[in-house]
Amino acid sequence: MPILQKGANAPLATQTPVVRIQIGRGAIIGDIDVSAYVLGENGKVSGDPDMVFYGQRQSGDGSVLLDSASDTETVFALNLAATPARVQRIAFAATVPGAGADRPTFAKAASVALRIDGADPIVFPVPIEGAIETSMILGEIYRRAGAWKIRAVGQGFAGGLKPLAESFGIVIADDPAPPPAAPAPTSAPAPAPAVSLSKITLSKAQPKIDLTKKDGAFGEIKINLNWSAAPVKRGFFGGSRSIDLDLGCLYELRDGTKSGVQALGDMLGSFGSAPYIELSGDDRSGAVTEGEWLRVNGARWNDIKRLLLFAFIYEGAPNWAATDARITLHAPKSPPVEIRLEEGDSRKNMCAVALIENIGGEMRVSREVRYFSGHAEMDSAFNWGLRWVAGSKD
C-alpha cells in the first residue's frame, strides 16, 4: 500500500478511481466542505461546470461525481476516460467552516487523509500539525506521459475557500446579498464563473444546522420558496410557471398557540404581532421570479417554539421533479441555508420541507423533505394537533 508523503506522486492503476477524502473533525465544529476542480493546462477551470461541490455534484464533462458525503468521508467517483484532452488535472480540496480570527485551521482537525481505493490502495495522510490553512488542496490527479497519476499536495490558504477557488480561476462574490435577486439571463457566456460558496445546503448527509444569534437577536429571517417549471438553468431562475407552488408553515408559539400561515384561507400571519410570521404575498402571475417569501420576526424568536415549513402544489399535477423547488433561509449575518425538494412523490401534493425549532433560544433548522397527501396527514405526522378542513384560494 503506497503511503505518499507531501509532494510525492504515484501512478494510478485505473481510469475509474474512487477518491476518498477522510476527515476526522477533531475540534472543528460545523461542516467541512470538500470540493473538486477540473483544471486545464493553465491550472484553471474553464467554467462553472468544472467545479464539483455540494451544490453541483457532477462536473460538466461527467468525469467527476461527488458520490457520497458523510460527516467523516466524501467520496468522488471518477471516470478519467471521459475527460476532454484540455483537462490536465483534477484537484481535491477541503475547507473548514467559520470566518474571521476564530476560524479553526486544519491543525484543529484530528486527521485528514486522501485515499484511492484499489487492490493496492494509495493513501496520503495529510500532515496538519501546525497548519495555518483553512482551505487546502489535498491532492491532485494529473496527466503525465499519457497516463494518470496522483500527487500528494497538502497545501492551501489561510483565507479559506475564496483564495483557493480564485487560484483555480473561479471568481467569488464577497457577500451573497440576501435575498438573492435573480440575475438577468445573458446570452453571452460568462467570462468567469461566479459561485457563491458561503451557502449551506442541508442534505440527507447534513440534515441539521444550528444558527446562533448575531448581536443578541436574529433580526428579520426571510424564507424563500422558489421553483422552475422549465429545465434547470444554472445561474438564474427561468422558465414558465405552469405549476403553482405555495409556501406556508405550521407554527407553535411558546404560549401554546398553534396555527398555520399560508395563502390558502388568507392566513397571512403578521410580522409585528403574533404569530410574528408573515407571508409576503402569493405570486401566481409568474411575473415575479423570486418565488414566495415568508418573513419571521427574529426579535420575537423567544415567543416561537417551532415552525414547520411546507410547500404545497395547489393546482396542477404534483410533479415535484419538474419544479426544481428549493427553500432558502436567510438569517442576517449567516450564510443562506438551502434545502432542495428532492425525491418528490408525484402522488402527493404537500412537502414538509424543514422543521425550525427554538432550542434554548437558538435556532435549529432540520431538513425533512417528506411528502404528504395534505395538511391533515402532515399535521398528524408531526403531532401538531390542528383540525383541517378543505378550503379554496378564491
Binding site: 507531501k6 509532494g7 497545501q155
Partner: protein, 192 residues
C-alpha cells in the same frame, strides 16, 4: 536561437558559441502559490576535480560564500521567494579563469529547511536552467526540468565540464533526498 536540451543531453559550448568566455547561469522555478511556509530555494555551485570532489570548502559557492577564491565563479545572491518571471538566481562563471584542476562545475538547487517545512520538488514547477553569454547577452542553451519530481529536496540542474580543451554543458535534472547537506556530503564538503 538557443538550444534546448532534454534531460541527460549535452552540448559543446566551445563549438556552439566559440566566443563564449563569461557565462551567466540563470536558474528559475515556480513553487506552488499557497499560504503557509514559504519556499526558499537556493542555488549552489560545486567546483569539482576529476575525482568528483571539491578541493576544499572554498569550492562550494552558496549564499554564505558567494565567490570562489580565484574569483572565476560568483553567485549573484539569494532570491527568497522565487516570485516573478525570469531568473530567480544567477551564477556567473568566467570560463578562462576556472583553475585547471577544476574539471566540473555542478549547479544545484536545494529547498531550504525542506524537512521542517515538508517541502519537496514535487511542489515546484517550471524549473529551468539557462546559459547566457554575458558579452553578447545571447542565450546559448536552456534546459527545462519537466520531469515529474516527487519528494526530492535537492536537485542537480546542470553541469559545466571539461572535455579536453573545450567546455561542455550537460542537462542533469537528477534529484536527491536530504537537501543541501546531502549535496555537500556527496561532493566532499564538510558542512554543519
Amino acid at each position: 536561437m538557443a538550444i534546448s536540451l532534454q534531460k541527460g543531453g549535452n552540448i559543446s559550448l566551445t563549438k556552439t558559441d566559440p566566443n563564449l568566455q563569461k557565462v551567466l547561469l540563470g536558474l528559475g522555478w515556480d513553487p506552488r502559490a499557497t499560504d503557509g511556509a514559504e519556499f526558499d530555494l537556493d542555488a549552489s555551485v560545486f567546483l569539482l576535480t576529476e575525482a568528483g570532489k571539491v578541493r576544499s570548502e572554498k569550492d562550494f559557492i552558496f549564499y554564505n560564500q558567494k565567490k570562489s577564491s580565484d574569483g572565476s565563479v560568483e553567485h549573484a545572491g539569494d532570491n527568497r521567494s522565487g516570485a516573478g518571471e525570469g531568473d530567480d538566481e544567477t551564477v556567473k562563471v568566467n570560463l578562462p579563469g576556472v583553475p585547471a584542476d577544476v574539471a566540473k562545475i555542478v549547479i544545484t538547487v536545494t529547498i531550504h529547511e525542506a524537512a521542517a517545512r515538508k517541502q519537496s520538488f514535487g511542489q515546484v514547477g517550471g524549473a529551468f536552467i539557462r546559459l547566457v553569454n554575458q558579452d553578447t547577452n545571447a542565450e546559448v542553451v536552456r534546459y527545462d526540468l519537466s520531469e515529474d519530481y516527487s519528494t526530492e529536496t535537492a536537485m542537480v540542474f546542470g553541469e559545466l565540464y571539461r572535455n579536453g580543451a573545450e567546455w561542455k554543458f550537460r542537462a542533469v535534472g537528477q534529484g536527491y533526498a536530504g537537501g543541501l547537506a546531502a549535496m555537500c556530503q556527496q561532493f566532499g564538503v564538510a558542512a554543519g
